[in-house]
């Protein structure tokens, strides 16, 4: 029998009490992180946008509204366009090569059984190295007379130059360092992507007649690596946009602005010339590119899942 012999009065306080307790605990636990997130990350990110619309220079007692003046100034500044061009050339040079090389290395490592661990470690080591310290090594390697690069090139009968001081080669010399550090990252991400491909796909492809290496790659590996590739390209591109360390220690943006990139320009304007507002505007351009890349990544992955 249903035990229903109770008064029908239904107290309702408990729900609020329980939920309020849980909410209070949640805010106490999340509070420090949320507060720090706003003061150290989101707040400053908003502030940088706001600052870019003013005329403030570091240390000035007054601050005035400048609208889009900083952006107009940027548009009229030859140095900005050189900087932007350099950044894009650097990204266009580093990204395809490091992604392509990373993919090639990952495929070759997976294609055999011997020395896998050694190759993986060798290619990954640059990712963990201190780029600043390694930049100094590269400086020595690019040394015009005793550097390893020129010695090797000369031995091979290739043209040599003072790589970091020649305006035509400096940006690509820095790009080479960028690639050296990025290949390992794209390699491990591709290796993880390859591991995630189910073996039976290859077996069923073989039964369907696709058993040569090229066919296997074209029919199974490459399509299955699609999402990983989009991810690797985005990650590498965002990291390339952030190039700064090598520029700062090896070329100072020179010779004659040939290696001036967005972040370095921002650093100089903001912290050498103390033009905070203008540097903030440069930061916004930089942020715009990074967000654009993420947006493209989301779009591409979205479309893929529709077809999948």
């Amino acid at each position: 029998m249903v035990d229903a012999a109770f008064p029908s009065a239904r107290p309702r306080p408990s729900r609020r009490a329980g939920a309020a307790l849980e909410a209070a605990a949640a805010w106490t636990l999340a509070g420090p992180a949320v507060a720090l997130m706003w003061t150290m990350l989101l707040g400053p990110a908003l502030a940088v946008v706001g600052l870019s619309l003013t005329d403030w220079e570091f240390g000035m007692p007054t601050i005035g509204w400048a609208g889009l003046d900083n952006y107009f100034e940027m548009a009229g500044d030859r140095v900005f366009w050189v900087t932007l061009r350099n950044t894009l050339v650097y990204v266009a040079f580093v990204v395809p090569l490091s992604v392509f090389l990373g993919l090639g290395v990952a495929l070759l490592i997976e294609a055999g059984a011997t020395l896998r661990g050694f190759y993986r470690a060798a290619f990954f080591l640059p990712v963990t190295s201190t780029l600043l310290a390694m930049a100094l090594v590269f400086q020595f390697a690019f040394h015009p007379s005793v550097g390893a690069v020129n010695r090797t090139f000369a031995w091979l009968g290739l043209p040599t130059t003072d790589w970091l001081r020649n305006p035509d080669t400096a940006l690509f010399a820095l790009g080479a360092i960028g690639i050296w550090q990025a290949v390992g990252l794209s390699m491990v991400l591709f290796l993880a992507g390859l591991k995630a491909i189910p073996r039976d796909l290859y077996e069923s492809a073989a039964i369907d007649g696709a058993d040569g290496p090229w066919e296997r790659f074209r029919r199974v590996t490459w399509p299955m690596l699609g999402p990983a590739t989009v991810f690797v390209v985005t990650i590498t591109a965002i990291r390339s946009f952030q190039v700064f360390d090598t520029v700062a220690v090896l070329t100072d943006g020179g010779p004659n602005k040939a290696t001036s990139v967005l972040l370095y320009q921002m650093y100089q304007e903001g912290f050498s010339f103390l033009r905070s507002a203008y540097a903030a505007a440069l930061t916004c351009v930089f942020l715009g590119f990074v967000l654009l890349l993420t947006w493209l990544q989301v779009k591409l992955l979205d479309r893929r899942t529709h077809y999948a």
Binding site: P11, P13, R15
Partner: protein
């Protein structure tokens, strides 16, 4: 030890109502199962009692206290989870001991290193240690105290979960499908053990399960839950023999009760697929009914034709030999309804798939339900009148 009184619980998740006015009184020391199909709200009910969910309305009383505003730890209940919820990185002893540590040691005494040097810590820890060993040995897992849950079998983990619940001597044990992760053989054994544990401890048990065998074999009473309501709360045998609704009748018993559409006749009898059964029902001529016949309430005879109007003509479709009994699946000649009869193996020997057969129920055991599914009870069934005609077949 304590009784648990649940009064008018209402709970919904978003727009989905999960509990619609549930009231239940579990007596002190009673073993009550909450039985129902998945999604009926039984687990939610248990979790509200434990304090892991908060009801929208209604109250829960454990012993003399209303516990609605108490945190789970303050309710003096222990719970055994379906997944056992053992802390994977703690040893068995640490798992069992944690609830005691949290209760008996102060915040300072629980601190690593510093805590050990505070006055009293050592004595309390020794007591806890002794109780862990005692509880574990009582459940036959004394030799596993240093292992981690990952190194244990399913049955051993289940005992650790039980030990962790027992060690606190709670007012009530709440169990959420604690046997569903065990294999069939172990489950039978564990059933007996839990029932034994209940007898030994004399504590109040509330046990959630979707498995009617578990509920029927272990419980003093079973609350059958359907769509957020308690459909019936009664002793196991009562649920089987005397269900309140068609849904309960259909849920309890395997194979399921045979339900046939029936129609009241003016003379008090009932017409079912062409046959006429006597029935003592409140007067309602012409009403549409459901007649429920348990598989073992059928009498079955070879040949489709039968002189007695109470018999239904049918064809044998399939025969299942279960060893101790045999199930004969038939299709009725009129309407094609599928029915199952449970008979003695010897009696089934004469039947073959494709043969004709006739069926008639023991009319004293037929359960009638109105069109709304509510049970119809009448005066005494007119069993005596038809009984002699059935006496000899086969």
């Amino acid at each position: 030890m304590a009784e648990i009184v649940i009064d008018g619980l209402i709970k919904s998740f978003g727009a989905t109502p999960v509990l619609r006015d549930v009231s239940l009184r579990v007596a002190d020391g009673e073993f009550v199962s909450l039985l129902g199909p998945s999604g009926c709200g039984k687990t939610t009910l248990l979790r509200i009692v434990a304090g892991l969910e908060t009801q929208d309305a209604g109250t829960v009383r454990i012993g003399a206290r209303a516990v609605d505003d108490l945190a789970p730890k303050a309710r003096d209940v222990a719970m055994v989870f379906q997944s056992y919820a053992l802390y994977p990185y703690m040893t068995v002893a640490e798992n069992i001991g944690l609830p005691l540590q949290m209760r008996r040691l102060s915040r300072a005494q629980r601190l690593p290193l510093i805590g050990a040097s505070l006055p009293g810590t050592r004595a309390i820890r020794a007591d806890i240690e002794a109780e862990i060993v005692k509880t574990a040995e009582g459940l036959g897992i004394g030799h596993l105290l240093d292992r981690r849950p990952g190194q244990l079998s399913g049955g051993q983990r289940q005992r650790v979960a039980l030990a962790r619940a027992m060690v606190r001597h709670p007012a009530a044990f709440l169990m959420d499908e604690p046997l569903s992760n065990l294999d069939a053989k172990l489950r039978v054994k564990a059933r007996a053990e839990i029932a034994g544990l209940h007898r030994r401890l004399g504590a109040t048990f509330v046990y959630v399960t979707h498995d009617q065998t578990e509920a029927m074999t272990m419980s003093d009473r079973v609350a059958v839950m359907m769509e957020g309501r308690i459909a019936q709360f009664a002793a196991p045998q009562t649920l089987y023999d005397d269900p309140e609704t068609l849904a309960v009748a259909a849920f309890i018993g395997a194979p399921e009760i045979n339900v046939l559409p029936a129609k009241r006749r003016g003379d008090g009898a009932v017409e079912v697929a062409g046959a006429v059964w006597s029935a003592a029902l409140p007067d309602a001529g012409g009403a549409e009914l459901h007649a429920g016949v348990r598989p073992e309430s059928w009498r079955i005879a070879p040949r489709a034709a039968h002189a007695d109007p109470a018999w239904l003509a049918a064809e044998v479709r399939h025969i299942e030999h279960l060893g101790s009994e045999t199930l004969i699946h038939c299709a009725l000649a009129r309407g094609g309804h599928a029915v199952v009869a449970r008979v003695e193996p010897a009696l089934a020997a004469g039947f073959r798939a494709g043969d004709g057969a006739s069926l008639a129920p023991d009319t004293t055991k037929v359960l009638y339900f109105g069109a709304d599914g509510a049970r119809l009870r009448g005066a005494r069934p007119m069993a005596a009148r038809i009984q002699p005609a059935l006496a000899h077949h086969g």
